[in-house]
Symmetry: D2
Protein backbone atom coordinates (compact mmCIF):
# COMPACT_ATOMS: atom_id res chain seq x y z
CA UNK A 1 0.00 0.00 0.00
CA UNK A 2 1.17 3.51 -0.83
CA UNK A 3 -0.26 6.86 0.25
CA UNK A 4 -0.82 7.92 -3.35
CA UNK A 5 -3.38 5.11 -3.83
CA UNK A 6 -5.71 6.58 -1.22
CA UNK A 7 -8.28 9.31 -1.77
CA UNK A 8 -9.69 9.43 1.76
CA UNK A 9 -7.89 10.29 4.98
CA UNK A 10 -8.63 11.65 8.43
CA UNK A 11 -6.40 13.09 11.14
CA UNK A 12 -6.23 11.79 14.69
CA UNK A 13 -4.06 12.73 17.63
CA UNK A 14 -2.70 10.06 20.01
CA UNK A 15 -4.40 10.46 23.40
CA UNK A 16 -2.85 9.86 26.82
CA UNK A 17 -5.02 6.80 27.52
CA UNK A 18 -4.12 5.15 24.19
CA UNK A 19 -0.45 4.74 25.12
CA UNK A 20 0.60 1.67 27.09
CA UNK A 21 3.23 0.71 29.65
CA UNK A 22 5.95 0.81 26.99
CA UNK A 23 5.06 4.44 26.17
CA UNK A 24 3.74 3.54 22.70
CA UNK A 25 0.23 3.30 21.25
CA UNK A 26 -1.21 -0.09 22.20
CA UNK A 27 -1.68 -2.57 19.34
CA UNK A 28 -5.46 -2.83 19.97
CA UNK A 29 -5.95 0.95 19.75
CA UNK A 30 -5.04 0.96 16.05
CA UNK A 31 -8.20 -1.06 15.39
CA UNK A 32 -10.12 1.84 16.95
CA UNK A 33 -8.29 4.28 14.67
CA UNK A 34 -8.99 2.07 11.64
CA UNK A 35 -12.67 1.84 12.53
CA UNK A 36 -12.89 5.60 12.91
CA UNK A 37 -11.39 5.89 9.42
CA UNK A 38 -13.94 3.42 8.03
CA UNK A 39 -16.86 5.32 9.51
CA UNK A 40 -15.59 8.68 8.24
CA UNK A 41 -15.06 7.11 4.80
CA UNK A 42 -18.80 6.53 4.63
CA UNK A 43 -19.62 9.97 6.06
CA UNK A 44 -17.87 11.26 2.96
CA UNK A 45 -20.82 9.82 0.96
CA UNK A 46 -23.34 11.43 3.31
CA UNK A 47 -23.93 8.26 5.35
CA UNK A 48 -23.76 8.30 9.15
CA UNK A 49 -24.19 5.80 11.95
CA UNK A 50 -27.54 5.65 13.74
CA UNK A 51 -27.61 5.11 17.53
CA UNK A 52 -28.24 1.37 17.03
CA UNK A 53 -24.99 0.88 15.07
CA UNK A 54 -26.73 0.63 11.67
CA UNK A 55 -25.78 3.11 8.94
CA UNK A 56 -28.32 5.73 7.87
CA UNK A 57 -28.81 3.97 4.49
CA UNK A 58 -29.86 0.79 6.32
CA UNK A 59 -26.51 -0.98 5.88
CA UNK A 60 -25.31 -3.05 8.83
CA UNK A 61 -21.81 -4.47 8.76
CA UNK A 62 -19.72 -6.64 11.02
CA UNK A 63 -15.98 -7.30 10.95
CA UNK A 64 -14.99 -10.79 9.76
CA UNK A 65 -11.22 -10.37 9.58
CA UNK A 66 -8.49 -7.89 10.45
CA UNK A 67 -4.91 -8.30 9.35
CA UNK A 68 -2.58 -5.68 10.80
CA UNK A 69 1.14 -5.18 10.23
CA UNK A 70 2.86 -2.90 12.72
CA UNK A 71 6.06 -1.28 11.39
CA UNK A 72 7.10 1.45 13.84
CA UNK A 73 5.61 2.74 17.10
CA UNK A 74 3.68 5.97 17.54
CA UNK A 75 3.84 8.10 20.65
CA UNK A 76 1.70 10.31 22.86
CA UNK A 77 0.35 13.47 21.21
CA UNK A 78 1.54 12.55 17.70
CA UNK A 79 -0.68 13.61 14.83
CA UNK A 80 -1.63 10.66 12.62
CA UNK A 81 -3.22 10.36 9.19
CA UNK A 82 -5.51 7.37 8.67
CA UNK A 83 -5.83 6.59 4.94
CA UNK A 84 -8.76 4.42 3.90
CA UNK A 85 -9.93 2.77 0.69
CA UNK A 86 -12.13 -0.10 -0.37
CA UNK A 87 -10.18 -2.47 -2.57
CA UNK A 88 -12.75 -5.14 -3.44
CA UNK A 89 -16.44 -5.95 -3.12
CA UNK A 90 -17.94 -9.43 -3.33
CA UNK A 91 -21.51 -10.62 -3.02
CA UNK A 92 -21.95 -9.92 0.72
CA UNK A 93 -18.48 -8.81 1.82
CA UNK A 94 -15.92 -6.12 1.04
CA UNK A 95 -12.40 -5.17 1.98
CA UNK A 96 -11.00 -2.01 3.57
CA UNK A 97 -7.30 -1.36 3.07
CA UNK A 98 -5.81 1.23 5.38
CA UNK A 99 -2.55 2.93 6.29
CA UNK A 100 -1.66 4.95 9.37
CA UNK A 101 1.06 7.53 8.75
CA UNK A 102 2.91 10.02 10.95
CA UNK A 103 1.65 13.41 9.80
CA UNK A 104 5.02 15.03 10.52
CA UNK A 105 7.35 12.87 8.45
CA UNK A 106 5.02 10.55 6.49
CA UNK A 107 6.52 7.38 8.00
CA UNK A 108 4.15 4.39 7.89
CA UNK A 109 3.23 3.15 11.37
CA UNK A 110 0.96 0.26 10.41
CA UNK A 111 -1.36 -1.07 7.75
CA UNK A 112 -4.57 -3.05 7.93
CA UNK A 113 -6.63 -5.14 5.62
CA UNK A 114 -10.11 -5.67 7.03
CA UNK A 115 -12.95 -7.74 5.63
CA UNK A 116 -16.49 -6.69 6.54
CA UNK A 117 -19.68 -8.64 6.01
CA UNK A 118 -22.97 -7.03 5.11
CA UNK A 119 -25.81 -8.26 7.34
CA UNK A 120 -29.54 -8.24 7.10
CA UNK A 121 -30.23 -5.84 9.97
CA UNK A 122 -33.12 -7.94 11.24
CA UNK A 123 -31.81 -11.50 10.97
CA UNK A 124 -28.11 -10.66 11.33
CA UNK A 125 -27.30 -13.09 8.51
CA UNK A 126 -25.11 -12.21 5.49
CA UNK A 127 -26.96 -10.40 2.73
CA UNK A 128 -26.13 -9.27 -0.81
CA UNK A 129 -24.60 -5.80 -0.85
CA UNK A 130 -26.88 -3.12 -2.31
CA UNK A 131 -25.92 -1.73 -5.71
CA UNK A 132 -26.15 1.82 -4.30
CA UNK A 133 -23.14 1.11 -2.05
CA UNK A 134 -21.23 -0.55 -4.91
CA UNK A 135 -21.82 2.44 -7.15
CA UNK A 136 -20.78 4.94 -4.48
CA UNK A 137 -17.47 3.15 -4.01
CA UNK A 138 -16.94 2.52 -7.76
CA UNK A 139 -17.37 6.20 -8.50
CA UNK A 140 -14.97 7.20 -5.74
CA UNK A 141 -12.06 4.75 -5.87
CA UNK A 142 -9.49 4.76 -8.66
CA UNK A 143 -9.32 1.00 -8.64
CA UNK A 144 -11.99 -1.33 -7.33
CA UNK A 145 -12.19 -5.06 -7.91
CA UNK A 146 -15.70 -6.48 -8.20
CA UNK A 147 -15.39 -10.16 -7.31
CA UNK A 148 -18.07 -12.55 -8.34
CA UNK B 1 -14.16 4.41 54.16
CA UNK B 2 -12.29 1.53 55.73
CA UNK B 3 -11.79 -2.01 54.42
CA UNK B 4 -13.46 -3.51 57.49
CA UNK B 5 -16.77 -1.87 56.51
CA UNK B 6 -16.98 -3.85 53.28
CA UNK B 7 -18.34 -7.38 52.90
CA UNK B 8 -17.89 -7.69 49.10
CA UNK B 9 -14.67 -7.56 47.12
CA UNK B 10 -13.23 -8.78 43.84
CA UNK B 11 -9.68 -9.07 42.55
CA UNK B 12 -8.42 -7.47 39.35
CA UNK B 13 -4.99 -7.30 37.79
CA UNK B 14 -3.80 -4.13 36.03
CA UNK B 15 -3.54 -4.82 32.29
CA UNK B 16 -0.97 -3.42 29.88
CA UNK B 17 -3.53 -1.28 28.00
CA UNK B 18 -4.88 0.31 31.22
CA UNK B 19 -1.62 2.07 32.01
CA UNK B 20 -0.97 5.48 30.46
CA UNK B 21 1.98 7.54 29.26
CA UNK B 22 3.07 8.22 32.87
CA UNK B 23 3.27 4.46 33.53
CA UNK B 24 0.30 4.51 35.93
CA UNK B 25 -3.30 3.33 35.63
CA UNK B 26 -5.28 6.04 33.83
CA UNK B 27 -7.84 7.91 35.94
CA UNK B 28 -10.74 6.84 33.68
CA UNK B 29 -9.87 3.14 33.99
CA UNK B 30 -10.76 3.12 37.70
CA UNK B 31 -14.39 3.80 36.70
CA UNK B 32 -14.21 0.55 34.70
CA UNK B 33 -12.84 -1.25 37.77
CA UNK B 34 -15.57 0.28 39.97
CA UNK B 35 -18.27 -0.77 37.52
CA UNK B 36 -16.92 -4.32 37.42
CA UNK B 37 -17.13 -4.35 41.22
CA UNK B 38 -20.74 -3.08 41.09
CA UNK B 39 -21.79 -5.80 38.64
CA UNK B 40 -20.09 -8.55 40.65
CA UNK B 41 -21.75 -7.21 43.81
CA UNK B 42 -25.10 -8.04 42.24
CA UNK B 43 -23.90 -11.42 40.90
CA UNK B 44 -23.37 -12.23 44.57
CA UNK B 45 -27.21 -12.14 44.88
CA UNK B 46 -27.64 -14.35 41.81
CA UNK B 47 -28.36 -11.44 39.47
CA UNK B 48 -26.51 -11.08 36.16
CA UNK B 49 -26.52 -8.66 33.25
CA UNK B 50 -28.52 -9.58 30.15
CA UNK B 51 -27.09 -8.78 26.69
CA UNK B 52 -29.18 -5.57 26.54
CA UNK B 53 -27.57 -4.12 29.67
CA UNK B 54 -30.60 -4.81 31.89
CA UNK B 55 -30.13 -7.02 34.98
CA UNK B 56 -31.75 -10.46 35.04
CA UNK B 57 -34.30 -9.30 37.67
CA UNK B 58 -35.49 -6.57 35.29
CA UNK B 59 -33.60 -3.76 37.02
CA UNK B 60 -32.05 -1.13 34.73
CA UNK B 61 -29.72 1.45 36.24
CA UNK B 62 -27.79 4.42 34.98
CA UNK B 63 -24.98 6.38 36.63
CA UNK B 64 -25.98 9.87 37.82
CA UNK B 65 -22.81 10.84 39.69
CA UNK B 66 -19.29 9.59 40.35
CA UNK B 67 -16.99 11.18 42.90
CA UNK B 68 -13.49 9.71 42.88
CA UNK B 69 -10.53 10.55 45.10
CA UNK B 70 -7.18 9.28 43.85
CA UNK B 71 -4.57 8.83 46.60
CA UNK B 72 -1.64 6.87 45.13
CA UNK B 73 -0.95 5.43 41.69
CA UNK B 74 -1.15 1.76 40.72
CA UNK B 75 1.14 0.13 38.19
CA UNK B 76 1.16 -2.51 35.46
CA UNK B 77 0.47 -6.07 36.61
CA UNK B 78 -0.46 -5.11 40.20
CA UNK B 79 -3.17 -7.15 41.86
CA UNK B 80 -5.99 -4.95 43.15
CA UNK B 81 -8.94 -5.54 45.47
CA UNK B 82 -12.12 -3.65 44.64
CA UNK B 83 -14.32 -3.37 47.74
CA UNK B 84 -17.98 -2.50 47.17
CA UNK B 85 -20.97 -1.68 49.37
CA UNK B 86 -24.27 0.10 49.05
CA UNK B 87 -24.53 2.81 51.70
CA UNK B 88 -27.98 4.26 51.09
CA UNK B 89 -31.16 3.72 49.07
CA UNK B 90 -33.74 6.39 48.29
CA UNK B 91 -36.96 6.23 46.31
CA UNK B 92 -35.40 5.74 42.84
CA UNK B 93 -31.66 6.06 43.52
CA UNK B 94 -28.94 4.42 45.60
CA UNK B 95 -25.30 4.90 46.42
CA UNK B 96 -22.30 2.61 45.90
CA UNK B 97 -19.25 3.31 48.06
CA UNK B 98 -16.07 1.65 46.88
CA UNK B 99 -12.38 1.33 47.68
CA UNK B 100 -9.53 0.06 45.52
CA UNK B 101 -6.66 -1.41 47.52
CA UNK B 102 -3.26 -2.86 46.60
CA UNK B 103 -3.57 -6.56 47.35
CA UNK B 104 0.09 -6.78 48.35
CA UNK B 105 0.27 -4.13 51.06
CA UNK B 106 -3.34 -2.98 51.56
CA UNK B 107 -2.58 0.63 50.59
CA UNK B 108 -5.65 2.55 49.38
CA UNK B 109 -5.30 3.66 45.75
CA UNK B 110 -8.62 5.44 45.35
CA UNK B 111 -12.19 5.61 46.56
CA UNK B 112 -15.46 6.29 44.78
CA UNK B 113 -18.93 7.28 45.74
CA UNK B 114 -21.35 6.64 42.88
CA UNK B 115 -25.05 7.42 42.67
CA UNK B 116 -27.16 5.24 40.38
CA UNK B 117 -30.72 5.85 39.26
CA UNK B 118 -33.22 3.07 38.74
CA UNK B 119 -35.00 3.39 35.38
CA UNK B 120 -38.17 1.99 33.93
CA UNK B 121 -36.57 -0.23 31.28
CA UNK B 122 -39.14 0.82 28.67
CA UNK B 123 -39.47 4.55 29.18
CA UNK B 124 -35.96 5.13 30.60
CA UNK B 125 -37.44 7.43 33.25
CA UNK B 126 -36.69 7.15 37.00
CA UNK B 127 -38.79 4.56 38.79
CA UNK B 128 -39.27 3.50 42.44
CA UNK B 129 -36.77 0.82 43.45
CA UNK B 130 -38.32 -2.62 43.97
CA UNK B 131 -38.54 -3.87 47.55
CA UNK B 132 -36.82 -7.12 46.51
CA UNK B 133 -33.62 -5.17 45.79
CA UNK B 134 -33.92 -3.19 49.03
CA UNK B 135 -34.31 -6.39 51.04
CA UNK B 136 -31.37 -8.08 49.33
CA UNK B 137 -29.10 -5.18 50.23
CA UNK B 138 -30.55 -4.73 53.76
CA UNK B 139 -29.92 -8.38 54.55
CA UNK B 140 -26.35 -8.21 53.24
CA UNK B 141 -24.91 -4.88 54.43
CA UNK B 142 -24.04 -4.20 58.07
CA UNK B 143 -25.27 -0.65 57.77
CA UNK B 144 -27.71 0.67 55.23
CA UNK B 145 -29.49 4.00 55.34
CA UNK B 146 -32.99 4.02 53.88
CA UNK B 147 -33.68 7.63 52.91
CA UNK B 148 -37.23 8.76 52.41
CA UNK C 1 -21.73 25.96 35.25
CA UNK C 2 -22.97 27.73 32.13
CA UNK C 3 -21.58 27.68 28.59
CA UNK C 4 -21.10 31.45 28.60
CA UNK C 5 -18.50 31.15 31.39
CA UNK C 6 -16.17 29.11 29.19
CA UNK C 7 -13.68 30.47 26.68
CA UNK C 8 -12.18 27.15 25.55
CA UNK C 9 -13.94 24.27 23.84
CA UNK C 10 -13.19 21.36 21.54
CA UNK C 11 -15.40 19.14 19.42
CA UNK C 12 -15.51 15.35 19.67
CA UNK C 13 -17.64 12.76 17.97
CA UNK C 14 -18.91 9.69 19.86
CA UNK C 15 -17.16 6.59 18.50
CA UNK C 16 -18.63 3.10 18.12
CA UNK C 17 -16.39 1.61 20.83
CA UNK C 18 -17.33 4.31 23.37
CA UNK C 19 -20.95 3.24 23.56
CA UNK C 20 -21.92 0.46 25.95
CA UNK C 21 -24.48 -2.32 26.18
CA UNK C 22 -27.27 0.20 26.88
CA UNK C 23 -26.47 2.05 23.62
CA UNK C 24 -25.16 5.13 25.46
CA UNK C 25 -21.68 6.53 26.04
CA UNK C 26 -20.15 4.67 29.00
CA UNK C 27 -19.67 6.73 32.18
CA UNK C 28 -15.88 6.13 32.19
CA UNK C 29 -15.47 7.42 28.63
CA UNK C 30 -16.45 10.96 29.67
CA UNK C 31 -13.25 11.08 31.76
CA UNK C 32 -11.37 10.43 28.51
CA UNK C 33 -13.28 13.28 26.85
CA UNK C 34 -12.58 15.58 29.81
CA UNK C 35 -8.88 14.73 29.72
CA UNK C 36 -8.74 15.45 26.00
CA UNK C 37 -10.29 18.84 26.74
CA UNK C 38 -7.72 19.52 29.49
CA UNK C 39 -4.81 18.70 27.18
CA UNK C 40 -6.18 20.85 24.34
CA UNK C 41 -6.73 23.69 26.83
CA UNK C 42 -2.99 23.75 27.40
CA UNK C 43 -2.21 23.40 23.67
CA UNK C 44 -4.04 26.70 23.34
CA UNK C 45 -1.10 28.26 25.24
CA UNK C 46 1.43 26.52 22.98
CA UNK C 47 2.11 23.69 25.45
CA UNK C 48 2.00 20.05 24.34
CA UNK C 49 2.54 16.65 25.93
CA UNK C 50 5.91 14.96 25.49
CA UNK C 51 6.05 11.19 24.94
CA UNK C 52 6.74 10.62 28.66
CA UNK C 53 3.48 12.29 29.73
CA UNK C 54 5.18 15.51 30.92
CA UNK C 55 4.13 18.82 29.32
CA UNK C 56 6.60 20.64 27.08
CA UNK C 57 7.07 23.38 29.72
CA UNK C 58 8.22 20.76 32.23
CA UNK C 59 4.91 20.60 34.12
CA UNK C 60 3.79 17.16 35.28
CA UNK C 61 0.32 16.76 36.71
CA UNK C 62 -1.69 13.93 38.18
CA UNK C 63 -5.42 13.72 38.88
CA UNK C 64 -6.34 13.85 42.59
CA UNK C 65 -10.12 14.05 42.29
CA UNK C 66 -12.89 13.87 39.70
CA UNK C 67 -16.49 14.74 40.46
CA UNK C 68 -18.85 14.03 37.57
CA UNK C 69 -22.58 14.66 37.31
CA UNK C 70 -24.31 12.87 34.44
CA UNK C 71 -27.56 14.55 33.33
CA UNK C 72 -28.63 12.97 30.03
CA UNK C 73 -27.11 10.23 27.85
CA UNK C 74 -25.24 10.76 24.60
CA UNK C 75 -25.39 8.39 21.67
CA UNK C 76 -23.26 6.92 18.89
CA UNK C 77 -22.02 9.44 16.30
CA UNK C 78 -23.23 12.52 18.20
CA UNK C 79 -21.08 15.63 17.97
CA UNK C 80 -20.12 16.92 21.41
CA UNK C 81 -18.57 20.16 22.66
CA UNK C 82 -16.23 19.86 25.62
CA UNK C 83 -15.95 23.21 27.43
CA UNK C 84 -12.99 23.66 29.77
CA UNK C 85 -11.85 26.30 32.24
CA UNK C 86 -9.60 26.52 35.27
CA UNK C 87 -11.54 27.94 38.21
CA UNK C 88 -8.92 28.09 40.96
CA UNK C 89 -5.20 27.62 41.59
CA UNK C 90 -3.65 26.85 44.96
CA UNK C 91 -0.04 26.29 45.98
CA UNK C 92 0.45 22.91 44.23
CA UNK C 93 -3.03 22.09 42.89
CA UNK C 94 -5.66 23.56 40.58
CA UNK C 95 -9.19 22.86 39.44
CA UNK C 96 -10.62 22.20 35.98
CA UNK C 97 -14.34 22.79 35.57
CA UNK C 98 -15.84 21.27 32.43
CA UNK C 99 -19.11 20.82 30.60
CA UNK C 100 -20.02 18.41 27.81
CA UNK C 101 -22.78 19.69 25.55
CA UNK C 102 -24.65 18.26 22.56
CA UNK C 103 -23.48 20.32 19.62
CA UNK C 104 -26.87 20.03 17.92
CA UNK C 105 -29.18 21.37 20.61
CA UNK C 106 -26.84 22.63 23.37
CA UNK C 107 -28.25 20.25 25.99
CA UNK C 108 -25.83 19.56 28.86
CA UNK C 109 -24.82 15.90 29.03
CA UNK C 110 -22.51 16.04 32.04
CA UNK C 111 -20.21 18.26 34.04
CA UNK C 112 -16.95 17.58 35.84
CA UNK C 113 -14.89 19.26 38.47
CA UNK C 114 -11.36 17.81 38.54
CA UNK C 115 -8.51 18.63 40.88
CA UNK C 116 -4.98 18.15 39.56
CA UNK C 117 -1.76 18.16 41.52
CA UNK C 118 1.49 19.55 40.18
CA UNK C 119 4.37 17.11 40.68
CA UNK C 120 8.11 17.44 40.68
CA UNK C 121 8.80 15.39 37.55
CA UNK C 122 11.76 13.63 39.17
CA UNK C 123 10.51 12.86 42.69
CA UNK C 124 6.78 12.67 41.82
CA UNK C 125 5.97 14.66 44.97
CA UNK C 126 3.74 17.77 45.01
CA UNK C 127 5.50 20.96 44.03
CA UNK C 128 4.58 24.66 44.00
CA UNK C 129 2.98 25.65 40.67
CA UNK C 130 5.17 27.85 38.49
CA UNK C 131 4.14 31.50 38.14
CA UNK C 132 4.32 31.17 34.34
CA UNK C 133 1.36 28.74 34.42
CA UNK C 134 -0.56 30.96 36.85
CA UNK C 135 -0.09 33.98 34.60
CA UNK C 136 -1.12 32.09 31.47
CA UNK C 137 -4.39 31.07 33.11
CA UNK C 138 -4.98 34.45 34.79
CA UNK C 139 -4.63 36.24 31.47
CA UNK C 140 -7.00 33.83 29.75
CA UNK C 141 -9.87 33.19 32.18
CA UNK C 142 -12.49 35.80 32.99
CA UNK C 143 -12.56 34.72 36.60
CA UNK C 144 -9.83 32.86 38.43
CA UNK C 145 -9.55 32.36 42.18
CA UNK C 146 -6.02 32.31 43.54
CA UNK C 147 -6.24 30.41 46.82
CA UNK C 148 -3.49 30.81 49.38
CA UNK D 1 -6.81 -24.39 15.40
CA UNK D 2 -8.59 -26.77 17.76
CA UNK D 3 -9.03 -26.55 21.54
CA UNK D 4 -7.27 -29.88 22.07
CA UNK D 5 -4.01 -28.39 20.71
CA UNK D 6 -3.82 -25.86 23.54
CA UNK D 7 -2.39 -26.44 27.00
CA UNK D 8 -2.89 -22.91 28.37
CA UNK D 9 -6.14 -21.04 28.86
CA UNK D 10 -7.60 -18.27 31.00
CA UNK D 11 -11.17 -17.19 31.68
CA UNK D 12 -12.50 -13.69 31.08
CA UNK D 13 -15.95 -12.21 31.42
CA UNK D 14 -17.26 -9.66 28.90
CA UNK D 15 -17.57 -6.28 30.63
CA UNK D 16 -20.19 -3.63 30.01
CA UNK D 17 -17.70 -1.18 28.46
CA UNK D 18 -16.35 -3.78 26.00
CA UNK D 19 -19.63 -4.09 24.13
CA UNK D 20 -20.39 -1.66 21.32
CA UNK D 21 -23.38 0.00 19.73
CA UNK D 22 -24.43 -3.28 18.08
CA UNK D 23 -24.55 -4.99 21.49
CA UNK D 24 -21.54 -7.21 20.71
CA UNK D 25 -17.93 -7.19 21.88
CA UNK D 26 -16.03 -4.65 19.77
CA UNK D 27 -13.47 -6.10 17.31
CA UNK D 28 -10.59 -4.17 18.94
CA UNK D 29 -11.37 -5.53 22.43
CA UNK D 30 -10.42 -9.07 21.36
CA UNK D 31 -6.83 -7.84 20.94
CA UNK D 32 -6.96 -6.85 24.62
CA UNK D 33 -8.25 -10.33 25.50
CA UNK D 34 -5.52 -11.95 23.37
CA UNK D 35 -2.85 -9.83 25.03
CA UNK D 36 -4.12 -10.77 28.48
CA UNK D 37 -3.84 -14.43 27.42
CA UNK D 38 -0.29 -13.87 26.18
CA UNK D 39 0.81 -12.26 29.47
CA UNK D 40 -0.80 -15.01 31.58
CA UNK D 41 0.89 -17.62 29.37
CA UNK D 42 4.22 -16.28 30.54
CA UNK D 43 3.08 -16.00 34.18
CA UNK D 44 2.63 -19.76 33.94
CA UNK D 45 6.44 -19.96 33.70
CA UNK D 46 6.87 -17.62 36.68
CA UNK D 47 7.51 -14.54 34.55
CA UNK D 48 5.60 -11.30 35.16
CA UNK D 49 5.51 -7.82 33.68
CA UNK D 50 7.47 -5.07 35.42
CA UNK D 51 5.95 -1.56 35.64
CA UNK D 52 7.99 -0.45 32.60
CA UNK D 53 6.39 -3.09 30.34
CA UNK D 54 9.47 -5.34 30.31
CA UNK D 55 9.10 -8.95 31.56
CA UNK D 56 10.80 -9.95 34.82
CA UNK D 57 13.35 -12.07 32.93
CA UNK D 58 14.46 -8.99 30.97
CA UNK D 59 12.54 -9.89 27.80
CA UNK D 60 10.90 -7.00 25.95
CA UNK D 61 8.53 -7.76 23.09
CA UNK D 62 6.52 -5.73 20.64
CA UNK D 63 3.70 -6.81 18.33
CA UNK D 64 4.64 -6.95 14.63
CA UNK D 65 1.49 -8.52 13.22
CA UNK D 66 -2.00 -9.59 14.27
CA UNK D 67 -4.28 -11.63 12.07
CA UNK D 68 -7.76 -12.09 13.53
CA UNK D 69 -10.70 -14.05 12.15
CA UNK D 70 -14.04 -13.28 13.77
CA UNK D 71 -16.60 -16.10 13.46
CA UNK D 72 -19.51 -15.32 15.80
CA UNK D 73 -20.21 -12.43 18.18
CA UNK D 74 -19.94 -12.54 21.96
CA UNK D 75 -22.25 -10.64 24.29
CA UNK D 76 -22.25 -8.76 27.58
CA UNK D 77 -21.47 -10.86 30.65
CA UNK D 78 -20.50 -13.99 28.71
CA UNK D 79 -17.73 -16.11 30.15
CA UNK D 80 -14.93 -16.67 27.63
CA UNK D 81 -11.94 -19.01 27.50
CA UNK D 82 -8.80 -17.60 25.86
CA UNK D 83 -6.57 -20.46 24.67
CA UNK D 84 -2.94 -19.60 23.95
CA UNK D 85 0.06 -21.40 22.50
CA UNK D 86 3.33 -20.53 20.83
CA UNK D 87 3.55 -22.28 17.48
CA UNK D 88 6.99 -21.21 16.20
CA UNK D 89 10.13 -19.37 17.24
CA UNK D 90 12.63 -17.81 14.86
CA UNK D 91 15.83 -15.88 15.52
CA UNK D 92 14.23 -12.75 16.99
CA UNK D 93 10.49 -13.36 16.56
CA UNK D 94 7.85 -15.88 17.59
CA UNK D 95 4.19 -16.60 16.95
CA UNK D 96 1.24 -16.82 19.35
CA UNK D 97 -1.78 -18.75 18.10
CA UNK D 98 -4.94 -18.18 20.08
CA UNK D 99 -8.61 -19.11 20.22
CA UNK D 100 -11.47 -17.45 22.10
CA UNK D 101 -14.27 -19.84 23.00
CA UNK D 102 -17.66 -19.44 24.69
CA UNK D 103 -17.26 -21.20 28.02
CA UNK D 104 -20.89 -22.31 28.00
CA UNK D 105 -21.10 -24.15 24.69
CA UNK D 106 -17.49 -24.23 23.38
CA UNK D 107 -18.34 -22.29 20.21
CA UNK D 108 -15.34 -20.53 18.68
CA UNK D 109 -15.76 -16.75 18.64
CA UNK D 110 -12.49 -15.78 17.00
CA UNK D 111 -8.90 -16.82 16.44
CA UNK D 112 -5.68 -14.85 16.24
CA UNK D 113 -2.22 -15.41 14.95
CA UNK D 114 0.17 -12.81 16.35
CA UNK D 115 3.85 -12.32 15.62
CA UNK D 116 5.97 -10.69 18.32
CA UNK D 117 9.49 -9.37 18.00
CA UNK D 118 12.06 -9.61 20.77
CA UNK D 119 13.76 -6.25 21.39
CA UNK D 120 16.94 -5.20 23.09
CA UNK D 121 15.36 -3.34 26.00
CA UNK D 122 17.85 -0.47 25.72
CA UNK D 123 18.12 0.10 21.97
CA UNK D 124 14.61 -1.16 21.07
CA UNK D 125 16.09 -3.01 18.08
CA UNK D 126 15.41 -6.70 17.31
CA UNK D 127 17.57 -9.12 19.25
CA UNK D 128 18.14 -12.89 19.21
CA UNK D 129 15.71 -14.67 21.53
CA UNK D 130 17.35 -16.13 24.67
CA UNK D 131 17.65 -19.92 24.83
CA UNK D 132 15.98 -19.87 28.27
CA UNK D 133 12.73 -18.69 26.65
CA UNK D 134 13.04 -21.24 23.83
CA UNK D 135 13.52 -24.06 26.32
CA UNK D 136 10.59 -22.95 28.47
CA UNK D 137 8.28 -23.06 25.48
CA UNK D 138 9.78 -26.26 24.01
CA UNK D 139 9.23 -28.10 27.30
CA UNK D 140 5.65 -26.85 27.55
CA UNK D 141 4.16 -27.07 24.05
CA UNK D 142 3.34 -30.39 22.40
CA UNK D 143 4.47 -29.08 19.06
CA UNK D 144 6.86 -26.20 18.48
CA UNK D 145 8.56 -25.31 15.22
CA UNK D 146 12.04 -23.85 15.56
CA UNK D 147 12.63 -21.88 12.37
CA UNK D 148 16.13 -21.03 11.38
Amino acid sequence: MEIKDFKHSIQLRVRSFEVDSQGIVHNAVYLQYFETGRIEYRRNFGIHLRPDGVFSDGMKVVVARNEIDYFIPSYLDELLDVHTKISWIKNSSFCFEQLIIKNLNKQTICQCSGILVNLNSKTNTPEKIDSKFINEVKNFEKELILKT
